[in-house]
């Protein structure tokens, strides 16, 4: 019991400690000499005694478990003692050898059974074995189907049977069955088996788990008929068995004429719902048969009652034929119209909130497992750890080779740390990039593992991971600030090949540049080419532009033209010098923007804004840029390419400035499948596509959906947006505004330390010493500090075996030797 509680330390620890305290203070294992022990035995009273040598180890797993069994056994009137075999008083129960010490069960002074200590491996086994021995008559142990049938036949018309299958004797389930037998053993015949074949022969394949069947034999009068059987569905714990048997005892069907809201039966007390089959005089017989049938099906799951509508004072809806009432207080009864029994059963079963009455043993499974990785990056990288990466495609740099390499050739350096998941995930993209660029790039792809070359990374001002830097022509390295992915880094590397801005030397070259001819291979990476036009004497303006171009290096193509004949270009494109020409290659458009008195920062802003599209396809990569505009998003979700008519309609609205307060965009579910996840969170189920929504991300989080029954036309949209603006539209959902909290609790070591500190003085450790009175014994333990200190550690250790984490244990065996200082 303690073991599992420790796993949910946060809540469990104080409870556990209280338990320990309670137990050690109230029921501790009494220690007696053989003579004294036999003198205490009372006729008819059962007693379990463990005989041990005075010089045997002071603590042992068995003694600890025995100590724990004191309280539960006392509940059944069984006393527990440890008998110290000292030289002066030998007893025949005192074994000759230390290892062969046994525990003995007496009733009065009659020996009932002896147990080797390895049979009593834990507290469950101790309780189970002792009760099993004492309830020899009440619980029949059988091994064959024939045995079972014999018992069944013998009891037909006389008594009901509780038949249990457990995997082994001494398991917690066995203990639960024995404890139930202790209470109900005189009312029902308990039958126990550990034979898997027997279980299978009555039609249960699930031999991994313990099962309990209730055989309704008492009402079987015809000996040729089989007893009805009900399988208990909950796990076998003492409380669950108790609850199950209680429901078996309850009347199968009760007729009521009261308000369903007022009726109370044992079921409600046990947390089970009630099902009322509504009946009327005319159909009473049939209804009763139906209700009985339902009652059998729901036995152990719900209470079934027959509600006579005619004599009922309260009104129930006319069509309702079933009333369903949950066990929780204050929940109103549901009035249902159900056509067949199956739908009734499934309704009940799906709505039954079976309050899992679980004992401490089962809390392991209930508490969230804090040791399960919930970081998607860490988990995926870990799962992928065994796949060899073609790392040789990139050059690994060290403290010795770093400087010479980055000076000798233009290099991209990835700084990462081998233990850090995010940088290892990015390393994969980096290697993919190396595969793509293999043999084509003049840029050397290199990497530095900062887990090895910590000082080197610090010198390069890298204190976080991952970081990508470009070392080119001995200039200051440029840090890459884009998405950590293959495509974006490739774009950066390609665009970094040319100087930024490129110096254009003739009008013809400028035209080629603007048309995209000049850097044909690059325009797929930069949808826009920027050309700054300056008179040769505009030095400051040129400097500002150059600075801006440098800043944007790797993200956009920029060029500069400032020859004497610049007017040819400015005239052609109607630009006033200084000016920018923006060539949008996809649309084949060239626009001009005046640059008078613009500083580098302004120019960067102008170019960055120019890169934004009016109606972009939103993707994982580009969403952050559009979010910066801080406007609500108008998103058209489309399964595949966008319908040109919709596009036209929206572009028209943009043109007419109706969408200035929004960021219009569309999402292609084929390119961005995660869009489905978004729709599902807005609508619960996938709505028909295409679909238009407005998401007010930055203020309020409301989501509005354009009515799907209306065609997406300019007029309809405009009307809808107007209504939206006027507050006439209802939102379909509001995005949650919660902060991101810790996904799971952490180990509360502080409480554990406190608990351990307060545990020491009260903790008892069973030991084999000469008989002493309790007080003296206590004092001695207080003095023996080392024993007190070691005790809790060992307690915890031993508990872990129960958790049967075999691989961890295996791992542990390698740990026994630890290091030097």
């Amino acid at each position: 019991m303690m073991s599992s509680s420790f796993n949910i330390f946060r809540v469990g620890i104080s409870f556990v400690i209280m338990c320990i305290f309670y137990k050690s203070a109230v029921d501790s294992l009494s220690e007696l000499s053989p003579q004294k022990y036999f003198s205490t035995l009372q006729p008819g009273k059962a007693s379990l005694a463990y005989f041990c040598q005075a010089d045997s180890p002071r603590t042992s797993i068995f003694l600890e478990e025995l100590n724990e069994a004191v309280t539960p056994l006392q509940d059944y009137g069984i006393s527990v003692a440890k008998v110290n075999c000292v030289k002066e008083e030998t007893s025949r129960y005192c074994g000759k050898e230390k290892d062969l010490m046994k525990a003995y069960l007496f009733r009065g002074n009659i020996l009932l059974r002896e147990f080797p200590t390895d049979v009593l491996f834990d507290v469950n086994a101790i309780v189970a074995h002792v009760l099993f021995a004492l309830l020899f008559n009440e619980v029949k142990y059988i091994t064959t189907l024939e045995d079972l049938q014999n018992i069944e036949n013998a009891l037909k018309g006389k008594a009901n049977i509780a038949f249990a299958y457990v995997r082994a004797i001494g398991t917690p389930e066995h203990r639960a069955v024995m404890e139930a037998a202790f209470v109900y053993g005189t009312t029902y015949q308990f039958v126990l088996t550990t034979e898997t074949a027997l279980l299978e022969s009555i039609g249960n394949e699930d031999i991994e788990n313990a099962h309990l069947y209730f055989f309704h034999c008492k009402q079987v009068l015809d000996l040729t008929l089989q007893c009805r059987r009900t399988l208990m569905e909950q796990p076998l714990t003492t409380l669950n068995i108790h609850q199950f048997i209680k429901t078996m005892e309850a009347p199968l069907l009760t007729e009521v004429t009261e308000d369903p809201q007022q009726v109370s039966t044992i079921h409600l007390q046990l947390g089970l719902p009630l099902v009322f089959i509504v009946s009327q005089q005319a159909t009473y017989e049939a209804d009763r048969r139906t209700a009985e049938w339902v009652a059998w099906r729901l036995l152990g799951k719900a209470g079934v009652l027959l509600l006579l509508r005619d004599s009922l004072e309260v009104d129930i809806p006319q069509h309702a034929n079933v009333v369903f009432r949950r066990a929780e207080e204050g929940v109103p009864a549901e009035f249902l119209v159900l056509d067949d029994i199956d739908s009734l059963i499934s309704h009940v079963e799906s709505n039954v909130h079976v309050e899992e009455i679980q004992e401490d043993e089962d809390e392991d499974t209930k508490s969230p497992n804090m040791d399960v990785q919930d970081d998607e990056v860490a988990e995926t990288v870990y799962r992928d750890r065994k796949r060899p990466l073609p790392l040789e495609l990139t050059v690994e740099l060290t403290e010795e080779t770093f400087n010479t390499t980055v000076v000798a050739s233009d290099s991209i350096v990835l700084f990462y740390a081998g233990w850090q998941a995010v940088s290892m995930a990015f390393l994969q993209s980096y290697i993919d990039l190396a595969i793509k660029l293999k043999g084509t790039s003049t840029m050397l792809l290199t990497r530095v593992n900062c887990a090895d070359w910590s000082d080197l990374c610090t010198k390069q001002n890298v204190t976080e991971f991952p970081v990508v830097k470009m070392y080119k022509e001995g200039k200051n390295p440029v840090s890459y600030a884009g998405m950590l992915g293959t495509e974006d880094l490739l774009k950066f590397i390609q665009l970094s090949r040319i100087s930024c801005p490129v110096n254009i030397t003739s009008v013809q070259e400028a035209e080629e540049y603007l048309s995209g001819e000049l850097y044909k291979d690059l325009i797929s990476y930069s949808s826009v080419s920027v050309l700054g036009l300056f008179s040769p004497n505009m030095t400051t303006a040129k400097e500002d532009f150059t600075e801006a171009g440098n800043y944007l290096k790797g993200y956009v193509i920029t060029g500069i033209y400032s020859e004497e004949d610049v007017l040819i270009l400015s005239d052609k494109y109607a630009a006033t010098l200084p000016a920018l020409l923006l060539s949008r290659h996809k649309e084949g458009k060239i626009e001009s923007i005046p640059l008078a008195n613009s500083h580098a920062q302004d120019i960067i802003q102008i170019i960055t804004n120019a890169l934004l599209e009016t109606f972009p396809e939103i993707t994982v990569e580009n969403l952050p840029i559009y979010l910066r505009l801080q406007k609500p998003l108008l998103i058209l979700f489309s399964d595949g390419s966008i319908n040109p008519q919709y596009k036209k309609a929206i572009l028209m609205l943009v043109k007419e400035k109706h969408l200035d307060s929004l960021t219009p965009c569309w999402l292609n579910l084929k390119n961005t499948p995660v869009g489905r996840g978004i729709l599902q969170s807005y609508f619960d189920t996938m709505p028909p596509l295409p679909l238009l929504v407005v998401v007010n991300l930055h203020s309020g989080g409301q989501v509005f959906a354009f009515p799907s029954d209306q065609p997406i036309t300019e007029q309809n949209l405009l009307l809808w947006l107007k209504k939206l603006e006027a507050g006439l539209e209802n939102h379909i959902t509001i995005l949650p505004a919660q902060e991101w909290k810790p996904p799971l609790p952490a180990y509360d070591f502080l409480s554990m330390m406190d608990a351990a500190a307060s545990q020491h003085p009260t903790r008892k450790d069973p030991e084999c010493t000469k008989e002493t009175d309790v007080q003296e014994n206590d004092k001695k333990q207080h003095e023996d500090k080392s024993a007190i200190i070691k005790e809790p550690i060992e307690t915890l250790r031993i508990k872990h075996w129960n958790r049967s984490n075999w691989f961890k244990e295996g791992e542990k065996s390698f740990r026994h030797d630890n290091k030097e200082l």
Binding site: E376, L484, G701, P736, Q738, K741, P742, F749, L796, K819
Partner: protein
């Protein structure tokens, strides 16, 4: 004249400095004979003095080191007498990380020059002391440290002056009577005065400092060694094979360093005598208070051990003195000894310091160590710092502050303190977004040498910024000074802090502990707090503890009771990078302290959150939203879907067998927005 002569010794940088100083000196009216002034004076060119000189030089400070010997490291020129250092020189660790490797290099000083690593000076695991002398000489020369050799400071006194940095100057007078005036005095003179015990007959006792090291001088002799430290055992080791027997006598039981985890206790390399004692050879160990003893020389010139008590009542004639065996005929030391050797260690030389400096008092270590605070500043005189071995009172028998591999870091801490106090250079720190918190800690606990060597003395500090969106990382702060952190470092600790320390298990170390008990190692993360071997411990405080809280902290605690504490489970390889065993519990701890979600996410998840939540987890805010999202690869995606942490959105919304409903009763993570679509919660 002397100044000029000294300047020549310093080499070029010193020369420039002298010229720069000269006008400054001349400008002081009325004090024509003012002694030459320096901002920083370092006493002693041993490892600690040179280490401090290095930091002062790198910071461009005005300093000088005074050394009475002609070369650095004069202590090592003589000691250890048998020349074998017991500090390990581990040349290979299988790792390239230079910082990590310093964890196993106990002899190098800190510098930027990789040539100045001790492994280039000796191949021996336990190197020869001569190599240390050579190393220290090279360290001073290669780095051009300004050391005034052959300058014995005979007297140190105070000169009150309100303009001085600390309200007084330190006046150092050398053997020629020349005075030197210093704003800050850094005492790195070590412990070199041999400890002596005064008892009748102590004149017959030879000292470790002068006893013969030639085993032939001990052939067939009965030897008694007083003391139980490394010098005593080192002496015994040397003559073990040639003597009749060796008895060792000291007040307290032997402390084995592998049981105490204190490198100053008896090291296994010197403990050959323990082996022969326990294997019933003639050698042996005895415990007795040395001050009760008396040694008398008998007529054969041999030494007899008796008690002071007997000596006082007798009439002093050598052969008539009562011996213990007269009453008690099985007295252990009843044999006559040919030699008695004293190996009782050393103490600090207080003699050159004027009383007004108040270096000693009647404290615990008053006779052995000068009195210092946890910041290594003298309790008696502001501006006087004790460095190196002499500063070991701070962590005596606890950590490594008395040894090169420890004090090289405490010296750096003192230098950082001085840089802020006198030059307004705040304690160096790096600032990071909160999404880097786990990483910063994992990196340091895995490589930091200062934390590892100076466990429970120096600790890393993380200062949280407002709303815990970012943090500052400070390395190797003297943790007992935590309450004074803001004044010492010049950094603000208004929004909570973490302290990263290394600790042994509470009840693990000690001279009488069995450090090999079965099940001593802890492997489960939930038992991490019971770890016995050195492991990282992280303390979280909502507010900076006060001086009172630090002083009256619970017994056995390195720091006051924190708001929360985390232990990273001990690791056999001291490699705390296991994703689930080490990093995950650490993240959960940090998350729960800060009440936020510190997981990392792929860009796709951040994209989903951005469009389905009003707020984003820190990782998405600080990465994805700044256009630095982690895109991931197809193979990682597949693993994510298999693990259930990611969803395959291509199948979302398509008819599914289970109708797309989540099972009833599956509870979402506590505190997380309840959204059936968050891929990150699928696993719960």
């Amino acid at each position: 004249m002397r100044l000029a002569a000294a300047a020549r010794l310093w080499g070029p940088p010193g020369l420039l400095l002298t010229f720069a100083l000269h006008p400054a000196l001349c400008l002081r009216p009325g004090r024509t004979a003012a002694p030459p002034h320096r901002d920083y004076c370092v006493l002693g060119a041993g490892p600690a003095g040179l280490q401090m000189a290095y930091f002062l030089q790198r910071a461009g400070r005005d300093y000088a080191v005074f050394e009475r010997a002609p070369r650095p490291g004069s202590f090592f020129a003589r000691y250890p007498r048998h020349r074998r250092l017991i500090s390990i020189n581990k040349r290979h660790t299988g790792k390239a990380n230079a910082e990590f490797n310093l964890r196993h290099d106990w002899n190098s000083l800190l510098s930027h020059d990789p040539q100045l690593l001790f492994r280039h000076y000796s191949r021996a695991y336990f190197p020869d002391a001569g190599d240390m002398v050579r190393y220290l000489g090279d360290f001073a020369d290669r780095l051009r440290l300004r050391v005034l050799y052959n300058t014995t400071i005979a007297h140190v006194t105070l000169d009150k002056d309100r303009q001085a940095w600390n309200g007084h100057y330190f006046i150092l007078t050398d053997q020629t009577g020349q005075a030197h005036r210093c704003s800050v005095l850094l005492v790195a003179t070590g412990l070199w005065v041999p400890n002596q015990v005064d008892f009748p007959g102590s004149e017959h006792v030879e000292g470790y400092e002068s006893v013969s090291v030639d085993p032939r001088d001990f052939e067939g002799q009965n030897v008694l060694i007083l003391g139980r430290g490394n010098s005593a055992f080192e002496t015994a080791e040397n003559i073990l094979g040639v003597t009749n027997f060796i008895h060792m006598l000291s007040r307290s039981r032997v402390r084995l360093s592998w049981a105490t985890h204190y490198v100053g206790d008896l090291r296994a390399i010197n403990n050959g005598l323990l082996d022969t004692y326990q294997l019933k050879s003639l050698d042996g160990l005895l415990e007795s208070d040395l001050t009760d003893l008396a040694v008398v020389k008998d007529h054969e010139g041999k030494f007899r051990i008796t008690l002071k008590f007997f000596l006082e009542e007798s009439n002093q004639s050598a052969d008539a003195i009562t011996l213990p065996q007269d009453d008690n005929d099985n007295f252990a030391m009843r044999v006559a000894y040919d030699r008695v050797i004293r190996c009782l260690g050393w103490k600090f030389d207080f003699s050159i310091f004027n009383k007004s400096l108040r270096l000693s008092s009647s404290g615990e270590f008053s006779k052995k160590y000068p009195l210092v605070k946890a910041s290594y500043e003298s309790k008696g005189s502001r501006g006087l710092f004790v460095l190196g071995t002499a500063s070991h009172s701070v962590d005596y028998r606890k950590s490594a502050g008395g040894f090169i591999h420890g004090f090289r870091y405490t010296v750096r801490a003192v230098h950082r303190l001085l840089e802020h106090r006198h030059h307004r250079v705040p304690w160096p720190s790096t600032e990071h977004p909160i999404s880097q918190l786990t990483n910063s800690i994992v990196r340091r606990v895995n490589e930091a040498s200062g934390l590892y060597q100076m466990f429970s003395v120096l600790a890393d500090i993380i200062l949280l910024k407002e709303n815990a969106t970012a943090f500052e990382y400070l390395e190797e702060f003297p943790m007992q000074m935590l309450a004074q952190l803001e004044t010492i470092t010049g950094r603000k600790a208004q929004h909570g802090l973490f302290v990263i320390n290394m600790e042994y298990g509470r009840n693990f170390s000690g001279p009488d502990k069995d450090v090999f008990f079965y099940d001593r190692s802890v492997g489960h993360t939930e038992d991490a707090w019971q770890s016995n071997f050195l492991h990282p411990v992280i303390y979280y405080y909502r507010h900076l503890p006060t001086e009172q809280e630090v002083r009256f902290r619970p017994a056995d605690w390195a720091l006051p009771r924190p708001t929360a504490i985390h232990h990273i489970v001990e690791d056999f390889l001291t490699d705390w990078t296991a994703p689930v065993g080490h990093i995950l519990p650490l993240r959960r701890f940090l998350e729960n302290c800060l009440d936020t979600d510190l997981r990392s996410f792929y860009a796709e998840s951040c994209f989903l959150f951005a469009l389905t939540h009003q707020k984003l987890p820190p990782f998405c805010q600080q990465g994805y939203l700044r256009m630095q999202g982690l895109m991931g690869t197809e193979s990682l995606r597949r693993h994510g879907i298999e693990s259930g942490l990611l969803r395959d959105y291509a199948t979302v919304g398509r008819p599914r067998e289970d109708g797309g409903q989540r099972p009833v009763g599956s509870s979402p993570a506590p505190g997380l927005p309840v959204q059936p679509l968050d891929g990150n919660k699928e696993e719960l």
